[in-house]
Amino acid sequence: MEALMTWLEAQLADNSIFTLQTLGYYGEGLVTTVQLVFLSLIIGLVLAVPLAIGRGSRHRWISLPIFLYCYVFRGTPLLVQLYLIYYGVVFVEGIQETWLWVILEKPFVPALIAFTLNTAAYTTEIFRGAIKSTARGEIEAARAYGMSRGLMLRRIVLPSAFRRALPAYGNEVIFMLHASAIASVVTIMDLTGAARFVYARYYAPFDAFLFVAAIYLCLTFAILYLFRYLERRLLAHLKPASG
């Protein structure tokens, strides 16, 4: 590690912008971005599964609120949602005295809430479409076996729906990574925040943003690769026979 640092320092010696300090900002930004995106996707995914099932419910008092939630969060810009949750909550009278303030004071949790609600809305719609398009024959076969609704959902409908939703969900993950770039407007030092800091400090927009664009590209490649791998594994039965 020591040797690596000295080597790195020597490499950066004739460079006024990318010093160890600014690379440190980029490094912390990378960690923050990955945390923010990963956590919001995981929580969003967990929320989206029951919401997608409820969205297809025959009872309007279940499906209507979920429809409204999806409509609102897909129908407004994420930036506006972030502003509302970060700056909006402070106008709630007396919120500073409640336990809520402990989690809403720092920018990370408000951003996480905004991102999670947003991605959950999109993921719900993706899953609902996949559930709806389950082949009629599969459901009839499950009924013929005497499966209960719950068992049928667990064994037949959801597994096949997840597989069908995979490519569209992969897209949502990449969109979410890119959407996270707005986190810096509420003072979070994510990757874009680090780039804006370096840009503002050295007046070097090209260097600062090209470097951060390259990091986003690498992250996107990693996500693409992961989903390609998952699709190969899980959708193997849909591929044409080898030839």
């Binding site: 700056y87 402070v90 500073q96 303030w101 004071e105 720092k106 920018p107 407007v185 003072t187 030092m189 925040g193 804006r196 800091f197 840009y199 503002a200 400090r201 050295y202 007046y203 927009p205």
Partner: protein, 256 residues
Amino acid sequence: MKLHKILSLGVFGAALVAGSASAEVRDIRIGVDVPYEPMEYRTPDGELTGFDIDLGNALCAEIGIQCEWVVQGWDGIIPGLQARKYDAIMSSMTINEQRREQVLFSDPYITPPSAWFAPGDVEIGTPSEETLDGLTLGVQRGTLQDNYVTDLYGDVADVNRYATADDMVLDMDSGRLDAVFLDFPIGKSTLLDSEAGDYKVVGKKITEPKEYFGEGFGIAFRQRDKELAEAFNAALATLKENGTYDEIHERYFGAD
């Protein structure tokens, strides 16, 4: 015939000289980032006003040119100058070496101090690494205050960087920030004199070291517009001599 030729050449030459003279001090556009009270802001009916605006207009009148103000966000104010969206920047810009690599500065026209501001009920001693340890501090991104706070206290305190001073004041009102570091005149008008809440200055006004606080505010021009910068320098000297400068200064900062 010969005389006629010489005469017409002379007329042509005179026209050329006149043409280049007017090119030197042509009408210009000036970039400004609002609001940044009391340096530049809008009156309730939407008109631009402030120390920079009044002084800028007085300078233009002294030079004898028309100046048009162009509103531009701080993040892109130097790129905008280089992209010829306007010909000068007069927007509380501190002269420093990094900026000097990009732009040509006039003589400094004011040197304002910076200061720490905190809510009235927050107890902070003289700002230092010990007293600011663990606090959340606010600065406007990319300002010299950002550089100063980041370098001196970035390791011991959380530094939140804001795109606008308004966002920062909002976050201090809501209790998210323990203290902010601002240009003193801006902090005075947006925090002390307004009804935003109960705020106070912590410690002394700060103007040192020069590597952060620079030589004061300057008007920025493109590197090649040397005549324009000299015209503004000459006009500034005249206004300081004939008392116009003091009059404008008193309008916004009171008597010293």
